[in-house]
Amino acid sequence: MKPVPASTTEPDGAAGLLVQALRVGELSAVDFSVAPGHILALSGPSGSGKSRLLRALADLDPHEGSVCLGDLRQDGVPGHRWRQAVMMVPADSQWWGDTVGEHFPDGAPEDLDALGFEQDAMDWQVSRLSSGEKQRLALLRSVAHRPRALLLDEPTANLDPVATARVEAWLGDLIKRHRWPVLWVAHDPAQISRMADAHLRIAGQRLEEAPCS
C-alpha cells in the first residue's frame, strides 16, 4: 500500500483515516491509513476479528491505540460525535421503529431509486422487510446521517448478484464524490478487485498486505 498523508483535514472537509498501534482482541500493533475517497478491503477467516476491528474503529469496544479522521482524534470528541463521523454499518442491521421512514433523519433520501426502491419505501413496515432490503436500506440510512468515513461490514452479504452490482456502483460513486475513506470487509476476491484500492488480510494477530486482484 502506498503511504498516504492522512492526518489533516482538507479544505473541502474530506479527511483520511489514520490508525496507529491499535490493539483489540487478538489483533495487535495494527497500523494503516486510508486516504480520502479510497476503499481499503479487509478480509480474513470468520472469527479472526474483522468485526471487532471495525467496532474498535467506531469506538464501540475498549481498545488501545490511536485513531484519527483528519484533524479529529477519536479520544478528543465525545463518543457519539466520533461515531457520527466514522460510521459503522453492521452486517445485520437493527431497526427500532415500526416504519422505515422513522429511521431517516431528513425524510426520504434522494437515491432511493439508485438502490431499486420506490418512494413509498419510507412507509413500509420494518417487520416485513427481507434481509436484502434491510441491508440496502441500512446503507441508505447510514449515508443519510452524513458520515465522513464508512466502516462497512460485508455490505452485500445478503444480496443477489444484480443487487450487489447496484450497491457497488452506488457506493463507489458516492465514495468518490464525497471523498470518504472506507474500510470494507469482504470475502469475495472478485468484489475486492472491483472495488478496493488496497487490501489487508488478517493473519493470526496481525494484518498483512494482500493483492487486490
Binding site: H80, R83, P147
Partner: protein
C-alpha cells in the same frame, strides 16, 4: 372499642390450615410444599422478633435507636432489591443504586410526611415513623427492583439494537431511551394499578388494620389516602432515580454499551 385479643392456640388453627395446604401441594407434586412451610415459619419468627424490637423501641422512643432501626430496614431492602434482579450490575453497583434511590425517595418522603403533614410529637415518634417507613420501603423496593430488572434484561436482549443506534451517532441517552422508559413504566405500573383499584377490588391492609383496631372508617380512609399518595411518590421518584443511574452505569465515558458490567444470572 377494644381489639379482641388473639391467643397463640387460635393462631395455631390458622397454621394448621397452612399445613393442610402444604400437604395438598405435596400430593399434587407441585414441589412447593417445603418453600411454603419455610416461608410460613419465617413469617412467624420474623414478625415475633420485630414485635419484640418494636415493643422495646416504643418504650425507649429515642432518635438514635429509631435511626438505627431505619438504617437496618434500608439495608435489608437494598439487599432484597439486589436479589430480585436476574442480571444485575456488578461491583456493588446494584446494591448501591437500589439503596441510594430508596434512601433519596422513601426516606425523604417519609420525613416530609412526618414533619409537614402528620406532625406527631416528637416528629420521629416510632408509632408513626416505623410503620410509615416500612410501608414506603416495601413498595419502593418493589418498584425499584422491577424497574432495574426490566432495564438490565431489556438492554441484554436488545444489545445489537442499542449498539446499532450508537453506530448511527446517537447519544447514549437516545440509544437506550426506549428501554429506559419501558423500565420506568414497569416499575410504576403496580402502584398506579393499586391506587386505581383501592376500595373497589381491594381494601388496603393498613386501612383494614386501623378499622379492626377501632378507628372510625372515615379517619382510616384519610390515612389510607395519605399513605397511597406518599407510597406512589416514593416509588415513582425512587424508580426514576434508580433507572436513570443504572442506565448511565451501563455506558462508559466513551458512551460505549458495557454489558460486561452486568453479572450473568447464577444457575
Amino acid at each position: 372499642m377494644q381489639l379482641i385479643d388473639l391467643a397463640w392456640w387460635q393462631l395455631a388453627l390458622a397454621a394448621a390450615l397452612v399445613v393442610a395446604l402444604a400437604v395438598c401441594t405435596l400430593l399434587a407434586r407441585l414441589d412447593i410444599g417445603k418453600t411454603l412451610l419455610v416461608a410460613a415459619l419465617r413469617t412467624v419468627v420474623q414478625l415475633s422478633l420485630i414485635g419484640l424490637v418494636l415493643e422495646a423501641l416504643f418504650s425507649v422512643a429515642a432518635l438514635p435507636w429509631i435511626a438505627l432501626m431505619a438504617l437496618v430496614m434500608l439495608l435489608m431492602a437494598g439487599r432484597e432489591v439486589t436479589a430480585r434482579q436476574k442480571r444485575r450490575l456488578g461491583g456493588g453497583w446494584a446494591f448501591g443504586i437500589g439503596t441510594l434511590s430508596m434512601f433519596v425517595s422513601a426516606f425523604s418522603v417519609t420525613v416530609l410526611t412526618l414533619i409537614v403533614i402528620i406532625g406527631p410529637e416528637p416528629w420521629y415518634a416510632p408509632q408513626y415513623a416505623i410503620p410509615l417507613l416500612g410501608m414506603m420501603l416495601g413498595n419502593t423496593m418493589t418498584g425499584i427492583a422491577v424497574g432495574l430488572d426490566r432495564l438490565t434484561d431489556t438492554v441484554w436482549r436488545q444489545r445489537a439494537l442499542i449498539e446499532n443506534r450508537l453506530m448511527l451517532g446517537q447519544r447514549w441517552q437516545v440509544a437506550i431511551g426506549d428501554a429506559r422508559r419501558d423500565a420506568m413504566r414497569s416499575g410504576m405500573i403496580p402502584i398506579i394499578n393499586s391506587m386505581a383499584a383501592a376500595g373497589i377490588v381491594s381494601l388496603p391492609g393498613m386501612m383494614t388494620g386501623q378499622i379492626l383496631a377501632g378507628t372510625s372508617p372515615s379517619l382510616a380512609v384519610k390515612y389510607q389516602i395519605l399513605i397511597m399518595f406518599t407510597i406512589t411518590v416514593g416509588t415513582g421518584f425512587g424508580t426514576l432515580a434508580a433507572v436513570l443511574t443504572a442506565s448511565r452505569r451501563l455506558f462508559d465515558e466513551r458512551e460505549r454499551l458495557r454489558l460486561d458490567r452486568l453479572i450473568a444470572p447464577s444457575r
